[in-house]
Amino acid sequence: MRLFKKKISRVPLPSVEVLRKRTRILVIDDDENSFPFEIMRNEGYAIDHWPKVQNLNKLEEGEYDIIVLDIGGVAKEYTHEDGLGILEHLKDVNPAQIVVAFSGQTFDLSKNRFWRLADDSLSKPVDATKCKRMLDSLIENKMTLSHYWGVVVEVLKREQVSDKNVAQIEDMLARAIENKDADKICDILKSACTKADLALRLASIGVKMAALLA
């Protein structure tokens, strides 16, 4: 990872302030009072609200950079495990998707997997300060080329792609990033794996990486 960072060190990236405005955030929660929507929007965050999962395809395709997901009463139509089922599904089909576990059920032992699987957590009740701190931290630390490349490496390793091949892909990707060639980035990641469904998942990570260069 250090090598990848070095390879792309000359690429100018947007500041956290710019990223904050650009980041698309979706809060899925049936209780509209649980999240400080108005304050966060006034602070410049681009936040949508769904009381429940309205369009699973959009989530699978990574339309939102960060999803703040409640555990209960948001996806019973899709899975009996509700929010946890959606979280598991998203992490499977779109491993780079950043998901925040958002619930008041921290006291429920049966829901521990929900908290562990997410990239970060917000336990209700929350105030705006806590939301801002957590979202800024995610934007700063997870919406980066290195983080996305880290997710790609994890996927490739799981698929038993050799270290040599991973290193080659890294080289090609770093060059495409330096040239800010969005199509090339997606193509490289798409062809990194022979499995069709996995190739699409990797391409969607490529889209996220390319978006950071725009």
Partner: protein, 357 residues
Amino acid sequence: MLEILMMSCPYPTVNEQGVFRDGYLVRQPRACLKCDPKGCLTTLNAEQKEQIVHSVCPKGFSLVVLSWPHGRILCNGLIVAALNTVCPSSIRKAHQGQKVAWEEILSWHKGASKMIPLVDQCCDEKAYELIEGLHDVTTAVNLVTRNAEAIIAKLEGDTDDVKIDNAPPPLKSLLKSIELLHTRLSMSSIVANPESASFGQKHPVPVYKVFHRMVRLFEELAARQGVSIKMQGSSRLKPKCFDSIDTLALVLVDNAVKYSLQRNSVYVVVSDTNTSVKVAVQSYGPVVPKERQEKIFERGVRTQAAERFSSKGSGLGLYIARIVAEAHSFIIHYKCFDVSPSRSEGWNEFSFEVSLK
């Protein structure tokens, strides 16, 4: 569950902590209470494959270890006639009331085994009811928080901090109460689900600021008790912590105020080292006797002095503090100093060190 089993046991029992309890049919023999060292405790911890194991203590009494998947209890001070052939006749004569038939013990173990799943089910149902109740409380607190934020948003100032500084005192008090509510809810979560102390990612946390905020939350309450709270030291470091660090600050400051004698001060001292942030919370009040110091971080433990001093308290605060400390891989140390032996009062200090690594 072991507590329930011991309470419902007809025979005398002893637990791992060395607490001896009478059975509802057979009482503890005085010989067992006086016995020193209490060798029976090693029997309780010895490995065993059988569900019920009989052995004899050096004094000649039967020891019966009864096991269930939840754990085991030790029945002591019995004389099981059929199995205990080495019990001296003097003991047999002097302790007629301790005689028990082996079949009766087997029968009680069988009955208890049937009872355990029912008690478990009952506990689950009660826990579910409590959880549902907490969920409703959280929803209500959400609403209060949103309303308070809407009021703050209309105040003058560029940032939330400035706006809150400009708020009239009653609104400031309201905000403090809401913050306290949030942290109290988090305490309940940790009691019900200790794992929740390490949920989420660790974030860089200004420890001084966390304690300073808590001190401000408690200032009013402390003043009503005739106690003042003072922050001391300085710290700029931000070690990475879970959100639960707020709960730890609440417990330590709350306890210090609760167990402070009137006209005294609570000191919260925060300072940096090269690799860590050190925190010490000091207060003057009843001290913890040396033999109880190890126990105070256990769930439900309150010292006699604490009970005499304040009827409030559940013995959960320091247990929660320990859980949070464990989630962060540090230890909370307790010490007392300048103790007045005649009154068992002195300075109490709870301290810990959060590493920057």
